[in-house]
């Protein structure tokens, strides 16, 4: 038998180790935020005092304001289109019988898997020939493409938990296919769609590698401006803009967590407790309705 010591020692050692790992994970972000409020004229930690001078400098800098405006005008259309196209694709993949569905899913997911440096170089080469390099349109199109897999992934996961028979029931009660989707399925997957939208927004706003390749001095998103400044002279203005980027991400994450909690509640209880069974209906239940329709029907 092991003595009492190791048994008490291990959990406390593990707790201390985990605390250290958490500090490792979180402290860099906290330090950027603290430095951004520094009163010192250069980058130093801990700051000698607090001030808002770097935020004031940011607000009066046309370069940074332009960059923020550029990022926002890229993010809104790209996140919107990615969410619409991604949600539609997820519904199609989950509900319709499509020949070669696995291949199509792999194609749509590919931008998430292929290293982004390859995507960036490839887009530069082709977009240049199409006259899209260095334009806002080019960046919008690029960010849309990068975000689609994340939306598809999120919505697809939600659709697996929604029983297709609900829609069939609406159809037998006389609803049109269109109406049945918007009134029955869509409200159920809405949290996931919004999650996907948040993902798409964060991906666009934080995207750097593709943007480096596709931007120009006149069309320059925040991250690219920050990238060129980080490599030159580093002053706390960068910490201020970095803090704003972090705040954007944390807000998105908080929203997503709230949505997610709503979305996966039934799943969580089914996973941890003995309540499995009826909750997993869509998977275990007998398949009836449109699913059994032979492919040749259309």
């Amino acid at each position: 038998m092991t003595g009492a010591y190791p048994e008490r020692l291990w959990p406390s050692l593990r707790a201390a180790f985990c605390l250290a790992v958490i500090v490792f994970l979180v402290s860099p972000m906290v330090i950027v935020a603290i430095v951004s409020f520094s009163s010192a004229p250069f980058l130093t930690f801990p700051p000698p005092g607090l001030s808002l001078q770097w935020y004031r400098k940011l607000a009066s800098s046309s370069v940074w304001l332009d960059a923020i405006a550029t990022s926002a005008t890229i993010m809104v259309p790209s996140a919107t289109v990615a969410t619409a196209a991604g949600t539609a694709a997820a519904v199609g993949l989950a509900r319709a019988r499509i020949p070669g569905a696995g291949l199509i899913a792999s194609l749509i997911m590919a931008p998430m898997i292929v290293p982004v440096i390859i995507t960036a170089a490839a887009m530069l080469g082709v977009f240049r020939a199409w006259g899209l390099q260095g334009t806002r349109a080019g960046l919008i199109l690029a960010h849309t493409t990068l975000a689609i897999p994340y939306v598809v992934f999120t919505v697809l996961a939600a659709l697996r938990l929604v029983d297709d028979r609900l829609e069939s029931a609406a159809l037998t009660l006389g609803a049109t296919r269109w109406r049945a989707f918007w009134r029955v399925t869509f409200p159920l997957i809405l949290p996931a769609v919004l999650s996907g939208l948040l993902f798409a927004m964060v991906i666009s706003f934080d995207e750097l590698v593709v943007s480096i390749f596709l931007s120009s001095p006149t069309v320059r998103p925040v991250t690219v401006q920050m990238w060129s400044d980080v490599r030159g002279d580093v002053d706390p203005t960068i910490a201020a803009i970095g803090t704003l980027l972090l705040a954007f991400s944390v807000c998105a994450l908080l929203l997503e967590t709230a949505l997610n909690r709503q979305r996966t509640r039934p799943l969580e209880t089914a996973g941890t407790g003995p309540k499995t069974g009826p909750r997993t209906g869509p998977r275990t239940g007998p398949r009836t309705g449109p699913r059994t329709v032979p492919r040749a029907a259309r």
């Binding site: 092991t2 190791p6 593990r14 707790a15 985990c18 790992v21 958490i22 994970l25 979180v26 860099p28 972000m29 330090i31 950027v32 130093t44 930690f45 801990p46 991604g86 539609a88 694709a89 199609g92 509900r95 319709a96 019988r97 499509i98 696995g102 199509i104 194609l107 749509i108 590919a110 931008p111 898997i113 290293p115 440096i117 390859i118 995507t119 170089a121 490839a122 887009m123 530069l124 082709v126 493409t145 689609i148 037998t172 296919r177 964060v202 706003f205 590698v209 991250t223 490599r231 960068i238 970095g242 980027l245 991400s249 994450l253 997503e256 996973g271 941890t272 449109p290 329709v293 029907a297």
Partner: protein, 273 residues
């Protein structure tokens, strides 16, 4: 009603068009450069193999990614274990803490490490001035140490999250049974718990390794001249030399390394039909 069922298949068309035209076509175009530029033939791959600088960058890429994977396993396993066995509130808090870096900009996080690791940064200041442990500041940035610290920080969530999801599914009665049969804790862990957690460990490890292979921003900002990885080489070939053929060849190698490893585990990770 029934014949409308397949009309929903058309919903995938917009996404296919966007990804096909704006992603698949450009990537194929780039990969094709490897054997068509400047002339048709394998000259670019030949040049890659014969140039020591390029070979060293390929080796660096594998070595750095491998080391980062190891660091992430060592840091991530205890954290994932604690998350899986914590109470509801602590668990939610820990998941949130792991997700913050997951969601925040890689550039901002790398910048944070530049602030922390520099010659007069917080870490060196603590070691020299506050604690007096060392006289000379350590060189923590623009070398391998900086790259490993920065990349482990960025990639740790990719290790912790898949591992955590596997650990929560391990039946507690199995380790309880082993304990009641007299297995001491370390043996119980090594013989029962660790083998059961292996799928999560492999999934997380492969994910970290594969994502690490293609990393660009973190090594570019925190590494030195000796830490050039394949992604930086691709950028250099295009931006500095306009050598699309060699860039294409490097892309082929990176993509082969990534996809073969990823396809290996993707079925269990994504679960797409």
């Amino acid at each position: 009603m029934n014949d409308r069922g397949d009309a929903r298949a058309w919903l995938v068309v917009p996404a296919i068009l966007i990804v096909g035209v704006l992603f698949a076509y450009p990537v194929s175009w780039l990969l094709a450069r490897s054997v068509t530029e400047p002339v048709v033939g394998p000259q670019n791959f030949k040049q890659l193999i014969e140039t020591p600088v390029y070979l060293k960058a390929l080796w660096n890429t594998i070595l750095i990614s491998g080391s980062v994977t190891l660091v992430c396993v060592l840091l991530g396993y205890p954290l994932a274990y604690t998350m899986a066995h914590a109470g509801e509130r602590l668990r939610r808090l820990l998941i949130f803490v792991v997700l913050i870096p997951f969601w925040s900009s890689i550039l901002v996080r790398t910048f944070a490490w530049m602030v922390l690791l520099q010659q007069k940064g917080l870490i060196n200041k603590t070691l020299t001035d506050y604690l007096g442990l060392i006289d000379q500041p350590l060189t923590l940035i623009y070398n391998r140490t900086g790259v490993l610290i920065g990349m482990s920080h960025v990639l740790l969530p990719f290790m912790v999250l898949p591992l955590y999801s596997v650990l929560t599914r391990i039946e507690p009665s199995l380790t309880q049974a082993a304990a009641s049969l007299g297995a001491p804790p370390h043996r119980n862990f090594l013989r029962i718990y660790l083998p059961l957690s292996l799928p999560g460990l492999v999934a997380g490890g492969v994910l970290v390794f594969v994502i690490g292979l293609g990393y660009y921003i973190t090594p570019a900002l925190l590494g030195g001249p000796g830490d050039t990885m394949i992604a930086q080489l691709i950028e250099m070939q295009i931006a500095d030399f306009g050598n699309w053929g060699l860039a294409g060849a490097l892309a082929v190698i990176l993509l082969l390394g990534t996809t073969t490893t990823f396809v290996f585990v993707s079925r269990s990770l994504i679960g797409v039909r």
